[in-house]
Symmetry: C2
Subunit: 131 residues, 2 copies
């Protein structure tokens, strides 16, 4: 396991932030805060599950692209496509009030992983599935 | 912009991989491959948009958690929660046929970003929103 110290912290501030003002229930303000924290964590857990499944689906598609390109001797890199993707992700991030620099770093992070796996699987693909 | 060389490549192989076998249309095999590539890219673009919006939503929630914890003097870190999150993401990744090590690296990547932004916003939160 990688060392992980802090899971939950603030990121960006905006005027439509989630309201975490705690109305004290029977157990007092601390009990109300604890309930609010657990509710936020349940949402974070749901979001994380969605992210993992979306990432899995993305890799299924990039795998298919890699196999298609290998089979038809198409060039592996497409710098115009890549530049368009970066611009698009930055625009989407801005629309979602996410730091565009983070969105670009995220794309680079995914691509780094894709490249890491590329060589081993390229061998298999170039061999047309033969062992 | 960060240097990005290769956007699309293979990642993991499984028996339920997307079929990219190309049926030659009027333009021949290369034209069919080109159409298949464009269709895959449209799906990748949709998935990327979903990922960006999910990430934005995750940061909204971690921001709310950070503000809640600061307001109620709750400890910033929770090592038990963190360990549970890592185990859960690894299990989800395995179920989705995604490399569990990648899922764990992904969580660490997000947390690194959260920590990067933490100090500046913690100041604001500790000041209880006052300028």
């Amino acid at each position: 396991m990688l060392p992980i110290n802090i899971q939950e912290h603030v990121h960006v501030s905006d005027s439509t932030a989630i309201d975490t003002t705690v109305a004290p229930p029977q157990g007092g303000i601390q009990e109300g805060a604890r309930e609010t924290l657990l509710a936020l964590r349940r949402s974070i857990d749901n979001i994380d599950a969605a992210l993992i499944y979306m990432l899995a689906e993305r890799f299924r598609h990039t795998q298919a692209v890699g196999e298609l390109k290998a089979r038809h001797a198409m060039p592996a890199a497409d710098t115009e496509r890549e530049a368009r993707q970066v611009r698009r992700l930055r625009d989407l991030a801005a629309a979602a009030q996410l730091d565009p620099d983070f969105a670009e770093k995220f794309l680079a992070f995914i691509i780094k992983e894709v490249i890491r796996h590329h060589e081993a699987i390229a061998r298999k693909t170039n061999g047309n599935g033969a062992p």
